[in-house]
């Protein structure tokens, strides 16, 4: 039923929404502001007006190697996402189109692994990495991130595939399509929006992952999240540089997220709103 909303109420809601949005965005905003300050300004207390110097950015770029962790981030995030999709698509497929009595249990079990604090398995994982020579390698980290995000990827794809009516696949079978043709010509094109938003979300999750990246890398495979962390301990007082490094670390994923937000929102609310 339509409800008349008065103009004042609308204005009230709009202000409240902006306030909440600003509150959520504030830490990022303050990081950006701090990155544009001098080091003296940065430690001199709360101040929203910086002197707009790019000195910190120059320092970060000249004194530290930004490119290497950036490339590590790209390789690890994209690599783990592609690996996850390769594993998850057939898994979600099988669960969506030929479910068994235990399918729901398997899905719940997969999800339950995400409820466990990561630190609980730190020691065994650390030892495995140490003994298999995977410590501080891109391959090791790619596999690790693939594994930790796999439950979410499987769940998302499973939800998308479930939305595809089984009759359409049956129609393809009646039309003479083999299983391969059914996948290539019918299912994949219909699932592309779902696969795309899963891919985007997983890249973001992998890019932002910091627990495992910090624990399992030192220099060689360290991505941007570990790169930022490296600023905080030995050189903890250089807030402006730390902020500049942080901005440089989050900028690529922020830009990607901005351009793909429509796809992401559609993907995340898929099935909820028709």
């Amino acid at each position: 039923m339509a409800r008349a909303v008065s103009r004042n109420t609308k204005i009230g809601y709009t202000i409240a929404a902006w306030f909440v949005a600003l509150l959520i965005f504030f830490p990022i905003l303050y990081t950006i502001i701090t990155s544009l300050k001098t080091e003296q300004e940065a430690i001199s207390g709360f101040n929203l007006i910086p002197s707009f110097t790019l000195q910190s950015y120059e320092d970060v770029q000249s004194q530290y190697n930004y490119i290497r962790p950036f490339m590590n981030s790209v390789i690890i995030a994209v690599g783990s996402t592609i690996l996850a999709l390769i594993v998850a698509i057939p898994a979600a497929w099988a669960m969506a189109f030929s479910p068994t009595k235990r399918t729901k249990d398997i899905l719940m079990w997969m999800l339950s692994t995400k409820m466990m604090p990561a630190v609980a398995v730190l020691v065994p994982i650390y030892l495995i990495f140490l003994r298999t020579g995977l410590m501080d390698t891109r391959i090791g980290l790619t596999v690790m991130l693939m594994l930790i995000n796999l439950p979410i990827v499987v769940w998302m794809l499973y939800t998308y595939f479930r939305e595809i009516p089984g009759e359409i696949l049956e129609a393809a079978r009646m039309d003479g399509a083999t299983l391969g043709q059914e996948i290539v010509y019918v299912l994949t094109p219909m699932a592309v929006p779902g696969i795309a938003s899963t891919l985007l979300l997983n890249i973001i999750l992998a890019w932002n992952e910091s627990f495992w990246t910090i624990q399992l890398t030192t220099t060689n495979a360290a991505p941007l999240s570990a790169f930022i962390a490296s600023f905080s301990s030995p050189q903890g007082l250089f807030w402006a540089k730390l902020s500049a490094a942080s901005v440089m670390a989050i900028a690529p994923i922020l830009i990607m997220g901005w351009f793909s937000q429509k796809q992401l929102v559609r993907g995340l609310t898929f099935g909820a709103v028709k």
């Binding site: 049956e170 129609a171 039309d175 010509y185 219909m190």
Partner: protein, 332 residues
């Protein structure tokens, strides 16, 4: 081409037996309708013939060849689904051409066949549209188009009209019947609507709980139902059943009289009753009557019959139009 034989076909989902065993012969070119209440196994039977479900036991033969274990594609059948099941990302043209593409037909020949099918189904102007841009009736036609381009040995229709509104349903019903006349291909049509069954079928198969209750032409089923279930299911409004003294006098456990087979009078007759609701349609009058000491029945009078709520009426079943059933519901 297009004869289908089912030999003791049985289907169980786990412990649940949906089809206990069906034997059926469908001749070439016949329009066969599977009809029955929902859950009677008619769609499952169709899916077994299509190959979309595995047969638990028994054999399915198409044109004398055992296809029980063949994949759907190998059976040479085409199916039209209740939900149309069109490919939403493809244009109408690509939808119709899809089975031909799968059969690796050259593109020129494909286009020729698509044009031909589109011509038959009045879809020529819509070939470049997506299914989402079409109305329900047009989508249904695309689904039929996709079926006819393959020139299958038989068409399978799974409640194809149930998503359409009443007026469109009547039109499509006529169109499908005309298509059958034109193509003369075997068609198996599943519906729960007995009017569709009566108007379209050469042969009706009435199903209940996975069993065939009766097979015959529409008028055979109408005139000589094998049991109470078929009598009650075929015909609209439903057949009236009267038990007790009146039935016993006629040597039956129950008698069945169709609403249109009563002589009605306001003065005298075999059965007396009071009018509950009177529906005056002009061409017909339907009376809902509570019989004295008897059940609630429906009677139809041709034209106008001037009675109203609360009036007394008397009914006499027409001679030779009374169906007698025994204790088990079988026709005597």
């Amino acid at each position: 081409m297009g004869s289908i034989t089912l030999k003791s076909v049985r289907k169980a989902f786990g412990e649940v037996e949906v089809i206990p065993g069906v034997d059926l012969e469908i001749n070439e070119g016949e329009f066969v309708v599977f009809v029955g209440p929902s859950g009677c196994g008619k769609s499952t039977l169709l899916r077994l013939i299509a190959g979309l479900e595995d047969v638990t036991d028994g054999q399915i033969m198409i044109d004398g060849k055992n296809v029980t274990d063949a994949s759907p594609a190998k059976r040479g059948l085409a199916m039209v689904f209740q939900s149309y099941a069109l490919y939403p990302h493809m244009s109408v043209r690509k939808n119709i051409a899809f089975p031909l593409k799968m059969a690796k037909m050259p593109e020129a020949e494909r286009e020729k066949r698509v044009q031909h099918a589109a011509g038959i189904l009045n879809l020529t102007d819509y070939l470049d549209r997506r299914p989402g841009q079409l109305s329900g009736g047009q989508r249904q036609r695309v689904a039929i188009g996709r079926a006819i381009v393959r020139e299958p040995s038989a068409f399978l229709f799974d409640e194809p009209l149930s998503n359409l509104d009443a007026a469109l349903r009547v039109n499509m019903r006529v169109e499908i019947s005309e298509l059958h006349k034109k193509l003369a291909t075997t068609m198996i049509y599943v519906t729960h609507d007995q009017v569709e069954a009566m108007t379209m079928a050469d042969k009706i198969v009435v199903l209940r709980a996975g069993r065939i209750e009766q097979v015959g032409s529409p008028l055979e089923l109408y005139r000589s139902p094998a049991n109470r279930f078929v009598g009650g299911f075929i015909g609209s409004p439903n057949m009236n059943f009267i038990e007790g003294e009146v039935a016993a006098k006629m040597g039956a456990h129950a008698i069945g009289v169709r609403p249109e087979h009563f002589h009605m009078s306001t003065s005298d007759g075999l059965l007396g009753g009071t009018v509950g609701v009177a529906e005056h349609l002009g061409s017909d009058t339907f009376l809902h009557i509570d019989l004295d000491n008897g059940p609630h029945i429906i009677a139809r009078a041709e034209g106008e019959f001037p009675v109203h709520h609360g009036d007394r009426v008397y009914l006499t079943p027409q001679e030779g139009r009374v169906y007698r059933f025994d204790q088990n519901g079988l026709a005597i």
